[in-house]
Symmetry: D3
Subunit: 340 residues, 6 copies
């Protein structure tokens, strides 16, 4: 198993109990989560030495975020401590035609105000095999963008494979700002995860032969888009999840991967009911990284799909499944029969 590093923000998630609305709630369920932290947890569950790099306050809320990671086996040695606040997101879980709602309260968190020189990059990347980040981290602040860039430079110095999840967040920046920051970072990226929307918003990428605004794209269109993305940015691989949203409780889900030569497509999962959608994309990234580190592309694709389908059935941000459990689903047992 490999040393893997992810960098980003872990937030306090305050969610209403069950499917209560915000205005009805007399308590919030507490978990901690965030894109790259979720990826680290997935990788720790699959047996990797997964390090999550961030900055968190010294107080007990910061400590609780650290503990949430170490509880599930993520290495927290490189987490800087200081600053004032843990970023927060409030979550109201929807049902049927009522969508889930997220309210962010993450400005001025410790990681948003952290400096690149607060981290010992040489130690962080020594012997590492993979580095993963997302488009959320550089969007947090100018400092965080600088920090991300430094991490990428250092990762490449140490010969580490790099993946990015483009993940556009409209509450954090504009497309123009996103492209200004993100385009120059793409030179460090080996594996790009994101759909055509993210590519357009974050990278300013417009496929030549496809009208991405013409409603639902077919698989063919994705093939062309992925080829053009590879061409434009030099990615070794491009991957995306394809979600069909029927209701807050019922989605279709599959994975598409391009390795620069061939296209790989996973089985489609019909997920009903969805228990917790949040972290679905991150669990796909985590599954894909594990897959690419341990097996061929088709298997990686299936592993990532099954892993992330399972995430939708688990409360919280983290995908608390083992490699063994994912493989049972890869082998095709969707019957849900009781395991005694």
């Amino acid at each position: 198993m490999a040393k893997v590093v992810t960098l980003g923000e872990i937030m306090l998630r305050l969610s209403t109990p069950g499917v209560k609305r915000f205005v009805q709630s007399e308590s919030f369920d507490v978990v901690y989560g965030g894109g790259e932290a979720n990826v680290a947890v997935s990788l720790a569950n699959y047996g990797h030495e997964a390090y999550f790099v961030t900055k968190l306050p010294k107080h007990e809320i910061g400590q609780s975020a650290v503990n949430a990671l170490s509880r599930y086996g993520v290495k927290t040695d490189f987490i800087a401590r200081g600053g004032d606040r843990v970023g927060i997101y409030y979550l109201e879980t929807g049902a049927s035609m009522r969508p889930s709602k997220v309210i962010y309260d993450r400005a001025n968190s410790s990681i948003a105000l952290a400096k690149a020189n607060e981290f010992d990059w040489a130690q962080i990347f020594k012997d590492a095999k993979w580095f993963h980040f997302s488009g959320i981290t550089p969007a947090l602040s100018a400092d965080a963008a600088e920090l991300t860039k430094m991490a990428l430079i250092k990762a490449k110095e140490f010969g580490v494979t790099v993946s990015v999840d483009l993940n556009y967040r409209k509450k954090l920046w504009t497309p123009a700002k996103a492209q200004e920051i993100m385009r120059p970072l793409m030179q460090y990226v080996d594996v790009c995860i994101g759909n055509e929307e993210d590519a357009e918003l974050v990278l300013g990428f417009k496929p030549k032969g496809v009208d991405v605004h013409s409603g639902k794209l077919d698989i063919k269109a994705y093939h062309q888009i992925f080829e053009e993305m590879k061409e434009a940015f030099g990615f070794k691989m491009v991957a995306t999840s394809l979600r069909e949203s029927y209701s807050a409780n019922h989605n279709g889900w599959k994975i598409l991967l391009y390795n620069g030569k061939e296209f790989f497509e996973s089985r489609r999962y019909d997920i009903n009911p969805i228990v917790d959608r949040v972290g679905g994309g991150d669990s796909f990234s985590g599954g894909l990284i594990h897959g690419l580190l341990t097996r061929n592309e088709q298997e990686a694709c299936e592993f990532a799909a099954a892993a992330s389908a399972l995430k939708h059935t688990i409360p919280g941000d983290f995908n608390l499944v083992s490699e063994e459990e994912v493989l049972v689903l890869v082998k095709g047992d969707q019957s849900g029969r009781v395991q005694r």
Copy 2:
């Protein structure tokens, strides 16, 4: 926005946690609700000055019912205080083919024993635009029937538009008694809400050209029924919801409205899963009143349908949605995608 008045009983609702059966429950979830109170909450949520008129004991259970209303913006200035008890209903939520169960324990509540002269009708209806009541209130007791009649007379004196939800409750009275009390009240009603069953039981109404007992009615039959109801009772409008019950968790839902000239029919919603069915009809009344106060009939119909479909996804009796949220659904987004 308008001053709107509703009159009726608000009860303490004691429901089992999750889908536990009564005999399994070591605690009850507590909310307060009741037909006309639910309508008032809907209207307050849409921005109206909504007054709920009732009588509640001075003790803390009575106070909690008052607070439940003021918490969500309903005006409680005209709630009389006194008497001994808050009516109760016990609720067990069903699942799949197991139906939800309601046990009423509402006899001798403060409002059931209240007298018409305990309320300052002139203040209540001054500047009001709309008055809503249901067939439940006059069924509570002879006093409550008298009180309802007085309210209707006064509402008309002040030129207030009146709507009724016929709502037959077999535990409270017989069809014969219902018709004796309710038929004379129809002269004050502008907008009548109810289906053919309610009309038969509460008003003794039998459509000439339609066999209402021959199973499922088609839309055509409803058109004829509505025309005859208008004819028979002089209503300006007649409306009903059309529910298809597939299981305790899965219903179809749409709205039919007749304005004396034209018929309007909303989009059909497939609601799966249902979180809480109770108050579904009241949220339709609330949505319709708001719709008719602020837009044309077709829009009112769609607003009422979307609002009440959303209610089915919200725990408790009250429909805690904003006008903005309803309009998003009216515009057609049923995908349940996370709103960030």
Copy 3:
């Protein structure tokens, strides 16, 4: 109504709240359950004088198991007290394609170490009409196998009808061991409940004309299997449930019964969502015994099917439904409409 006796183990069930995973849980929901205890509860609910025979420690966890039975009307007069531990099973409830998981920790429980002479069989079977056991009890230990045999001998002495639920448990014994113990017990059995898999594993039964490993069997094949089982073991009746597993939340369900002459098949139920699958089979046995004690075979079959379909909607092991509720479903109302 009849005196009915069941014999077996009742365990402490520790289940995660909602659909949380084991590693997320900071509390466990506590109920008590086990195959034959569940059958006794069903029968008590239908009005029978149902006795559950077992051994439980004197300490408070043992007492809590006794109380769980007496709470729902099961007679506990013949429960021996002593030994050290109550068997445990941990339950994690699945969702969608994630299966539920059971971890057993039941070795060395009081009943597993009990001796046949600790029970007053004459008192137990005096005036009894029916005795039910399952293939789980003799699998617990050599002592428990001996105890089961003694119970069967005594039941027959008192002219009691005997039913068995074959219920193979691979964590408790091997097919070889199961067959060594169970085959000699079949001479005492009147009604055998189990499918072709159980019959093969527990009884070493292989139908001549049917390939039970060739995927899904049709009803015809079951007819032949049942006829051969009757032939081979002398059962008066053979019955099984037929479960279609689409996901952890969605199953199809029906019942097949053979009385040595005719085949009876119940209506098929589409159960969605499933609230709690555990005890589904036991509630079928309970429903069938009640049915056979009180009505004809077709009615018994429908009663058993409706009763056990309802069980899937009820949290915990016990099927907390009345005869009246089952009959409403037998009559065909699956609409889930609120009962007021």
Copy 4:
């Protein structure tokens, strides 16, 4: 152990979680309790065949009350079923100088409307050794007073020892009415439980030599009062608990008993913190009856004191302690050391 019968009302108790106020509570904890039911539970815990006689509705709330009794070993064979409602009491638990509050909603309960001829008194009192009732039951209604009188007449016919807990409830009747009903019932009573206040209010009893309104009475005064009560009403024994109320959490507690010749006084308990005061007096009655049935007066006095002191540490109305646990405390271990 003996057959013991108690008669009265068992109510649904709805209490706020922890020490929340009524107006803060979004859920109520649910237990069932009531003076004579609590006594029956105590006696079942000590090993007696304890029957509770009442009437409860057939619906599930009524059934839950029955189950609450059978769960803890009380015999429910003589509970009549019918009527509409289970009486309710709301409980808010106090802290420090804030008192606990009870709001009653018990009018028109099934037992309040029950008739004496709905019960098979011969079966009820056959072989019974003791009958216990309280001043609450005849206060419920004229019917309930009649019912109580009939029970007393029948108890005496069967030679059953009778105890009463005078228990004046000012919300249920006036002193004048209480005395009119209760005084004639005293001829059937062997053991009278109550303090000087209850005796004055319920029996119109005024001790000649003692000013009961002059603040705190000393033990001497109680001796005189008890002697006079015995004289006036012919009781064989008189007993009372003596409570010192320092705060909602801290009470002193002891027991005084007079057997017509001698006075017995228990050890004094300092109870801090009190977990749940409700049922404290009933647990004293239960302990006293058990004591008088099984040992001498001094021991009975100590048993009753220790048992009822322990009740104050147990949530709910019922005193869930075994004889063995009471005896450990009687022997003097108040250290609260962990029992491993």
Copy 5:
């Protein structure tokens, strides 16, 4: 009853369940509270028309804070809506020698960034009798200090009585900054609430004849301090609570008031156990304002003491007691006997 206005910040309070530590908590209890909001709730409970002035975001967390106020009768008409965040404080409740802990996360809240011209001061103070603020509000930001000053100027224009709770918060500002802002505001203040520490830190006040650092002050010393404070700042009244901290669960509590001529001292309360200390001081301010608006100084002093002693027994920030409940305690009943 009077129109009373308070101005300040209401925060989301996230507290650990029971006495769990932060690092153990998987959920947070949610209430809303803050110094001046708490005062408004007290006054609404006593029957006043209490307005709370603040600014809150339009999103659902902001709305929940508004609802928390209207639920308990506070008028929210003058709450501005906008900005991004609701200030937060995390609370861990201590026990015995372990202190409670508060972690603030309130920077950049809507009210901290609000401008004075966002409020309609004329409407706010029209017909108002009293205005209350605290030293926390001007400490939030320069804008908030400006806003506070404007409110004071306007209050005085409308002839409103003004009270301040000095309340030094070391996390928000330094003594130097506090004095720079607060000293000029004292000219508008009629009633000053605060002890010698607050006076030194917030006002730079040093009594001439008393060494405030010499440990515990006696009542005499307070008399001198209050006289000097009146002299120095022109207050009409000065008041303080005197807390003795024995442990996290056990405090002594009394009130001292000076009306410029005489000193008034309340009864001392021994509070054990403390349920929730937060808001204790605010409930004293609320009780004092009500007392001074409705009765003489000695009575006001006793009312304030009893009201705030009771607050310590109530979960959450708000003092949910009625005038009637306070008066029972003023009359001296601290026995905590159950009120039936």
Copy 6:
């Protein structure tokens, strides 16, 4: 900070919510704990590299125990995985004169059946400074006794300081058996923790000049006992906690330490209320080890006393306090004032 190793069993603790009795509980709170695991958590909290050595099943309950340790910073690298069960203890928390109760169900746990050669002792003790075990581990089974002996031999080979907590458990072995196993292990022990009772039961130690059965011992007697223990077994240090049990909620607590020359005695703490007594002794061991590793004996004694006093205020087995928090209490602040 130092590498510290502890060895023993970590159990699943199932405790009733609040102070409910076992027979009332519908759920159990879940934490994991055990003597030496608790010590490891204390040491990790104080900043040490604390390793806990045990064996746990591979299933999810075993994994949850591992996670509970890593969550709070304990190193789990040397935990063997395998076997069938996690030992369990049921806990009912007492109140006032009602004691807490523990029911053990720990036989045949993975660690009880583990062999010495399943652990890499060289890696475990490399660079370690301290090894701690208790008298519970060798009591689990013959294998566990062997394992403990091997660990001690290896610890001494690596020059590691060894401490033992004698901790006699009467449910696990007899005094004779304890002495047979434990006496030979004392040669490896540097620091012995235990009182005169444990010394008598576990070591067969009888002080010459002191009657340990004559009730409460004074400090002088302890001095003599400690001197004799040192003499008899060659300990470098002897220490004990001195608990005064007033009730389940109120204890006195202090620490006595003897370093072979001098006696050290900590301040006495009055703990009221106790939140959770379990792990009190372990937190004393953890505090003492930290104290002896970082400061002089008097300071170590005070640190251990304050740390373990604080444990009594924290739910669960683990002492979740930082060095900083302990030092605040050592400095004398027991006021429980809110820390903002």
